[in-house]
Symmetry: C2
Subunit: 225 residues, 2 copies
């Protein structure tokens, strides 16, 4: 039975990695479409989000099947519950990538990125892509040192998020209201994406360490939406 369970867990882990890879593609395309005002690339992200949603639902069904058939208890049970939560967070990260792509599409043929913030959003986008890649690797390897890299990148993204508001609220800001709205929404989406990654990293830390409190902490992070 243990062997069956561990085989099932490997299946769950493999699916989490697969979803994380799709989320990485989505945020990479979304942030590039936003930076280059590439509406075709944005459409790809919007179309592909349904696949991420379906795979998250399928993973939830698998987890429920494991609970029903193998009736795990104690730590094994918490691992399966954590997998349900991780899939929900990954699915939300895919939705955020879609929101960024929708901003691109909404403003096309105009640029969604306000003047004066292009380099800031390029950095935020690159950091979000790094975070998604690191998260995929963390799910694959459960190497917790990667969690520190994700947290560090999240701190950098938070600083850029603050700098966007400083810029928009400064006397020198010349942007129209639409530019202010776009900067506000886009900066929040970029920042939330990394928050969810930190929350998943904490859940993975639980899987590796068995320290459930790290996951309950994560509930607060993932929930700021």
């Amino acid at each position: 039975m243990r062997e069956v369970f561990h085989h099932s867990l490997e299946d769950v882990q493999g699916r989490l990695v697969e979803i994380a890879e799709l989320v990485t593609v989505a945020i990479d395309k979304a942030t590039r479409s936003f930076g280059e005002s590439d509406v075709a690339l944005a459409e790809e992200v919007i179309e592909a989000d349904a696949v991420i949603d379906q795979k998250a639902i399928a993973l939830d069904e698998l987890a429920i099947e494991i609970l029903a058939r193998q009736q795990p208890v104690a730590r094994d049970l918490r691992i399966v519950v954590s997998a349900l939560r991780i899939s929900a967070s990954l699915e939300r990260m895919g939705d955020i990538a879609e929101h960024i792509a929708q901003l691109t599409r909404m403003r096309f043929p105009e640029r969604a990125i306000p003047k004066g913030l292009k380099s800031t959003f390029r950095k935020m986008g690159e950091l979000d892509v790094d975070v998604a890649r690191q998260l995929t690797e963390l799910l694959r390897t459960q190497d917790l040192e990667i969690s520190d890299e994700i947290r560090n990148n999240d701190d950098l993204i938070d600083d850029l998020h603050v700098s966007v508001f400083e810029k928009v609220l400064s006397d020198t800001w010349q942007g129209e209201a639409s530019a202010t709205v776009d900067a506000t929404l886009a900066s929040r989406y970029h920042e939330r994406f990394a928050d969810h990654a930190v929350s998943v990293a904490k859940k993975v830390a639980y899987l590796a360490t068995g320290d459930w409190t790290t996951e309950t902490d994560a509930i607060e992070v993932v929930s700021s939406s």
Copy 2:
């Protein structure tokens, strides 16, 4: 064993109702603090959010204990998994109320509500409070007709959300960038709060009807953040 399980479910349901009541208090205070620029009321919301977080975590622990001890299968198992998801959504609704309170505090002693949008945000706030009350009643009674009321109110809030952007992007908009930022964030928070309520209502519909697809639909709704 069935009897023990149903007693446990009553405990779970009672806790979900209790959390929903706390969320209702939070959104009522948060939206009033926002409308009246009442920083003391805002502080109450920010302080009380930790209680909602703790109760959500305690409920999750109870659900995990039920899974471990009573090993529910089939529909009973899905009910417990749904309870885990409902608690996560309620906890996020509490966080959104906190975000609205934080906007109030951030701008104090200035008004957080931009000129020309006071009545719009008053309506959005009242609708969010209605939605929270209806959700509490839905969790208590599982009367699915309440779900329709929640959906209708969510539609009204979505219309107001759109009208905020129309106002902010109109030629007549005189607000400074800070007013545009506040309107953008506040409108999104008000709209997201109701989205989460609709998602919970779909999960409750599953509990009442056993139609799991209504819950999987809900994943997309709740995840748009």
